[in-house]
Amino acid sequence: MVDSGANFGSDIAARTLPLAGFHGGSSAARLETAPPAERISLRARAEDVGALSGALGVALPVKPKTSSSANGRTALWLGPDEWLVIAEGNGGLMQAAKNSGVLHSAADVSHRNTAILVSGPGAAAAINAGCPQDLSLKAFPVGACSRTVFGKVEIVLLRTAEDAFRVEVWRSFSDYAFGLLCEGAQDASL
């Protein structure tokens, strides 16, 4: 019999990551689940980009398909007034955006998304099993990012190195994305 009382409230809830325990990949394309990160979906008008960049400590890119990183934070251009800002660990992004003092919308999506890291010489080929974008270095250089499709789900793709990508995906689509990446990674190794 459980007693009532304040002790419940003091039990800090534990986190369960959506892709906990997932393993896969091939020699050509390694797959790892990214550690938890803080993320906000940030929306603002062009005239407020400067102030927000300053407050966040990372320049919000204004060129399509580009990202920028600084101070453990990465800002991805998703649309003309939309950025996905990702911070390692618990980065206080909501508060930082608020501190800008300018008009914006920030929504915490840390738990909406999860990420899969794809790396190796076959990383692009593995992703191209389901992604229709041109992932050559010319068309999708290091730092390039885009919301796009992967098989039957939507992802945000960020190239972190010549042979490494971060695949951001909504949590309930993440096992599908991981499964398709496994098959893509397998095929990329042939």
Binding site: A13, T16, D81, R112, A129, G151, S172
Partner: protein
Amino acid sequence: MSASSNSGAFRIKGAGRLTPARTARFTFDGKSFTALEGDTVASALLAHGVHLLGRSFKYHRPRGILSAGPEEPNALIDVSRDAARRQPNVRATVQEVFDGAKIVSQNRWPSLKFDVGAINNLFSPFFAAGFYYKTFMWPREAWVKVYEPFIRRAAGLGVAPTEEDPDHYANRYAHCDVLIAGAGVAGLTAALSAAATGASVFLVDEQPEVGGALHYDAATMIDGQNGYDWAQASAAKLKAMPNVTVLTRTTVFGYYNHGFLGLVERVTDHVAKPDKSSPRERLWQVRAKKVVLATGSIERHMVFANNDRPGIMLASAARTFLNHHGVAVGRNVGVYTAHDSAYEAAFDLRRAGVSIAAIVDNRADPSEALLAEARALGISVLSGHSVTDTGGRLRISSMTVARNGGGNARRIAVDALIISAGWTPSVHLFSQSRGKLRFDDVNQRFLPDIYAQDCVSIGGCNGTDDLAELIDEAIAAGGGSVALSGENRFEWTGGMIGAAEGAGPDTTVKAFVDFQHDVTAKDIRLAVREGMHSIEHIKRFTTNGMASDQGKLSNMHGLAIAAEMLDRPIPKVGLTTFRAPYTPVTYGTLVGHSRGELFDPARKTPMHVLETAEGAEFEDVGNWKRAWYYPKRGEDMLAAVNRECRTVREVAGVFNGSTLGKIEVVGPDAAQFLNLLYTNAWDSLKPGKSRYGIMTREDGFVYDDGVVGRLAEDRFHVTTTTGGAPRVLHHMEDYLQTEFPHLRVWLTSTTEQWAVIAVQGPKAREIIQPFVEGVDLSNEAFPHMSVSECSVMGVPARLFRVSFTGELGFELNVPADYGPAVWKAIWERAESMGACLYGTETMHVLRAEKGYIIVGQDTDGTVTPDDAGLGWAVSSKKLDFVGIRGLKRPDLVRENRKQLVGLLTKDPALVLEEGGQIVADPNQAKPMTMLGHVTSAYWSENCGRSIALALVAGGRSRIGETLYVPLKDRTIEVEVTDMVFFDKQGGRIHG
């Protein structure tokens, strides 16, 4: 001529490019054969003197091998590795032999040599073109019972496998600057040229090796070396370049819009023991900036009487079998041609030791160079002659030759007859790309004319016959420069389309135009006589060109015969449009990765594992897996739902509401935006409060609903239906971006950010109390429809006081990763207090007891808020909202609209069927006047009887009336009531 080892008596030592020591065993109709690595099933069987491979589609005539490539209409076989890995309708001329292959002939019963269906041949006068259409139309019942089963048994290709395909298939998207289809001389040259510019190049060829026509053409020299060797060396060079991808065994099967091409790569079909990790086939979806079509041309057959006997084949095919596979197609071969190319086949065979019975050339004056070479080789040439018939049963044994224009016919014994009516440029991909063709009158062929895409045709498919010209054209197409020279021995001329001598309109002979569908010259003439004047109609009437080979050999002949009958020039009769795929593509390839778990994403909530552990049964809602009910040991669904329904109202229940759509609406104009998107007014909603909102489309019909909470002046937490979340966001974005772009507000989908744990029932407050920090949960401080940000078990949360059950209720929103921990803690406490877990079925019953609607179940896209009894949610003060004008349309304000009401069956034990139609008088004549239908019907444990909701014409004015639901076997009497069945005063929700 000497046979080499046991790989076939017709294998010629020193001929061909295969290695005699590398053998593979396979069976054909149970008999074992030895082949060489690199053989196709066709070449391997021919090496053993086997020409009979199948029976034809309609007449069941014996058929052999006509070609050496993908254009093959006849030699369709069934290939298997094991019971599940079996594929019918494979072209024997394409399938490479692998050790252990099991090959079976098709469309014959009981055996290939004695086939009962061949009786169709005797009755062939009845099987003329259009026969099925005309004969089997009447009586109608007979079609299903007699004709169709008969036709399906007698006519048809192979038999589809019944077991699940154990192989897997891969998909790859790719991009390139230049895609080159075809790796013959033209394609390879273009690739070398393009690659030199640094462009990214895809070079694709359907054969196992590059080379194209060089497979059979052993005489052409390129850059001073044998053409085929040059091709292999060039491919090796290209493969080594980082900007080039060379794909062999890969067919460009479709050329679609905007430089998009579909390729199928056959990865393991030629391998004896495929690596299990390898896909069987890989679909390449390529976007090319530029396409170079170097698809060559296809040799045509001659159309003459009985031109379909096994042993009759295209001259170039015989040359391929000889020069590539080292196989002679006979020992005493006849030649019948209207084109120079067959001469070179005859010369090659003769030099390999095969006797040539005669070259029968229907042209009066073949070129002197060819005649001289024939003389030198001791081959007799009968120019101005034709083959007017052939003899033999399961294999050709003779040809009947006569001088054109009359004269004595004589029979010449042959064991094979090679034929050529000239070459048809392969313009299939060009045509698929929507390019427009022109007719080349001189050479009687269609050639690319107007291009619809960034594409260029080179070589044979462009009608470029001269080798030097072809090389120049290819270099230019590649955009770079290559130094290359080539020479071939003979310039080719000649060719004919249509029926040859002796198969003209005054004859009744079977001169086949389309082998696979058994269409003869006579059938095409009949079609014209029957009134078909367009090639599209003739094609459908005769089925010419509609078989799996899509008329690669037959289209031009059919067109010429029709044109002759119509006395019209060929381009006026028209060529049918080529459609993808160029050759058949397996379903597996098109499906790719989308099978099993990857067929469709199965969306699971953060608590899915815990629900499963509690024994939940799940139902699919959109892509979501939602807990449906939680049966305890021995409970069926009804028992479980009854227990859950009772427990929620008596104690409390815990429900997973995570799939509910959530949209964060943020910005100073957020309330104004919601004013425009919902029928309700939102300015008056204070932060910390929530409201049930109705969204209509511009036409005034209910589109979605949900509770909207105001967290701050400029921040709303909007909820939508589970299934409606994506389209509601799309709809909102549409208005925001295109109609109200001046509003300073932004939308973010937060459906998956939050795990939602609903606790409903009299003990709900007591259950959650200890976990919630920062909110006074008392009725006074936190009444129904309150919302607050707070902390739950140390994590930031959003708490709604809200109820979809009519009970005291809360919905805890916690960041999704914390969902399982919070759920577990709450459920532990709830369980100890006698509460239950409940699923979507109980949720449905409880809300119906309260008359709460479900959009999409109780509404169907023709229901207004007022129809649904929600007129109160439509603000009368607002000057504008989406739907404001639609709601005023005459039909939406008229009397007697269908309105949502309650129904109570007179017999309380009877549960109505959802969808059941409602009438006023069950004894009226049929068809009855329907008043509406049942939208929701359940057994209500809490009411101790069945309940239902229904859309009924003039429903609210009928409350108290008796109506009827006629079913197949009985009629159910019902009383119209209001929509609230439980706690009509509504006090419990404020508990």
